[in-house]
Amino acid sequence: MLPLILPVVLPLLAAFLVMPLARMSALIARALGPIVLTTSLVLLLPCCLDPPAQPLVLAIGNFAPPLGIVFYGDRLALLFANAVALFFLLFWDWRGGNPQQARQDALMLLLAASATGLALSGDLFNLYVFYELAAVASFGLVSLSGTGPALVATVRYLLVSAFGSVLALAGIALLYLQTGTLNLAQLGIDPEPLQGPAGLLAFGLMVIGFGVKAELFPLNYWVPEVYASAPARISALLAGLISKLAVLILLRLLVLVYGDTAAPQILLFLGILTIFFGEFSAWRAQDFPRMIAFSSIGQLGLVFIAFSLSGSWGVLAGIAVALHHLLVKSALFGLAHRWSGSLQALTGSAQRTPLAAALFVLFALSLIGVPPLPGFWTKILVLAGLAQEGSALAFTGLGAILLVTAVEAHYLFRFALQLYEKVENAPAGFRSFWEFLPSLLLGAALLAVTLRINPVADRLRAITQQAADRSFYITQVFPQAAAHRKDQP
């Protein structure tokens, strides 16, 4: 059970201790974060590579659910928990040198802990708490530079995030009022009362609340400005990882409670708007960070559309799209670390840094879904799923995805051609190979997945099989409840 609890608790402990330690020894304080994250990784990696047949279920403090909080580590949750440790290590600020380094490290650790908690927790309010922790830690991190734009962007982000959490909390209150429990599995045991208008409104409020981090349409206005003013590492983590974890909460709710209601339609509708607004806005973006920020919005729209598909197909498609986007968008923001300026100023960058430009092309190709890269397989999963749905909204979504993908291809390759233009004074770009090492590793991972697509797909199916099975989740958390239900059909 250690892999479930320690990756959440140890980073918190380290975060609390970083600042006092920094007064004694800067070196120890700096080393603390990587050590803790590596420990989490070491703990989690075996569970992810060789997942146990049964999910790990941990009642915190030995209080049987629904009294206490329960941590639920199925393959999906463990995978994301693993990704948290891995990506935080990848995008850790190894260089350092910030005068407030200890504070920054502490916030990073808090963000890592909350992200792990978001992946593992099986309690709605606990998820809300971790979500808020991620929000507050990210407020601090995105305003790291302390410049005017960073602060204004942070405040705008903070406002919408706080508004969202007020709504999410109202949704949780509404849910609690109807069910008297916060345990996800218990909510799923008898979902029918929740499938009425009140329950759906609660879900809607939570969609809006958790949609802030997931870059859902009317709540994502903070995205471009925050990613343009925040350090690229932070943007990579927020856009790549945290957004997916926010979607994960909604996924759990969808699978357990709202699968058969109008809820997927709402997600589909908002997803279409999101993808439309994101990709079309990217068309006019003039600088690299904002271009990929808008593209990230669009991709998350795709994630929402995918999760709105019914049955395990939707879960599979959604997980595939989300993981693909996690890989690609983090890597693109890894490039934005140095390519932070306007697109115009990057003309001819390929001359000095051909590897980075080649990586950009690779990621762009996968992002728009060119076979045989993984992006294609994820996209075709979504498209085939939409065609199978057959409703008018689904066909609208199908058309919208195709349309915006064409737009996306055009603006990405407009920029790619610019990178390869021959100019007199090529921009210097990356100072060293190490600066885009995370992107390089992720690019290698992308190619590896391309070559080993079938094993990966099998793994994803196994993950989906667990994640999409409502009664499986319930049985794992409440063995007796399932037996009880069987008795009285």
Binding site: L13, A15, F16, R23, I60, G61, L67, N126, S143, T179
Partner: protein, 228 residues
């Protein structure tokens, strides 16, 4: 135009919310988890105040998360406000203020500690007491703005208090294989030394909240000062 739209939207939303809420069992909610806790909370945890039992035992993870949020907020405020030397320009408080604060400080301290230590018995607990503690330390600063508080010490206290909370949890993890499970025996219900590790956790929470809120408030006050 904007206000009109807002009024319409709010009105519409309000209508829906009212209609929805008054269909629900107001005042007679389905107690599922709550009933079980009311049933067995006293025996399992040993705290007379079941809210504290929920807070520190049943939902201890929430509390840990909440501590972390406050800590994150304090850290982020520190980051946002920066470490520049600010000269606090507020004048020293008058005699009444100073004398009052001198009088209040020990009182608040005692009340705060009392509220923290009796959290598992009576209404109150780590948070409430922590806030009073923070007030205890902040009131003198209001009276004598130039003196300020030692942020280093505060961060030390909050760090160690947080670590203590997690440390108690980890102790349970290694002793009983369950993070944050109450240890040390439940004692007699209603006595000060009861409910196992809950008072200790309460103490950690109180210290941490006190240090953080005091730090937050002083940081904000110092931000009012001129840059030197």
């Amino acid at each position: 135009m904007r206000n009109l739209a807002a009024v319409l939207f709010i009105g519409g939303l309000g209508f829906f919310l009212f209609v929805l809420f008054f269909r629900l069992p107001l005042g007679a909610p389905p107690l599922v988890a709550g009933a079980a806790i009311l049933e067995e909370g006293g025996e399992t945890v040993g705290a007379a105040n079941l809210v504290t039992a929920v807070l520190l035992a049943y939902r201890g993870m929430d509390t840990l998360g909440e501590l972390s949020i406050l800590f994150a907020a304090a850290t982020a405020v520190g980051l946002v406000l920066g470490r520049r030397q600010l000269v606090v320009s507020d004048p020293e408080g008058g005699f009444i203020l100073r004398a009052g604060s001198d009088l209040l400080f020990p009182l608040l301290l005692v009340v705060g500690l009392y509220v923290i230590l009796h959290g598992h018995l009576t209404p109150g607990g780590g948070f409430q007491g922590g806030v009073i503690l923070a007030a205890a330390f902040f009131v003198p600063v209001l009276a004598r703005p130039r003196r300020g508080l030692d942020h280093g010490l505060l961060s030390f206290v909050e760090g160690l208090a947080g670590a203590a909370f997690i440390g108690i949890g980890l102790w349970a993890l290694f002793a009983r294989d369950a993070f944050l499970e109450p240890l040390l025996g439940k004692g007699v219900l209603g006595h000060l030394f009861s409910a196992g590790t809950l008072p200790l956790l309460s103490m950690a929470v109180g210290l941490k909240v006190g240090a953080e809120l005091a730090g937050l408030m002083t940081s904000l006050m110092e931000a009012e000062g001129r840059e030197s």
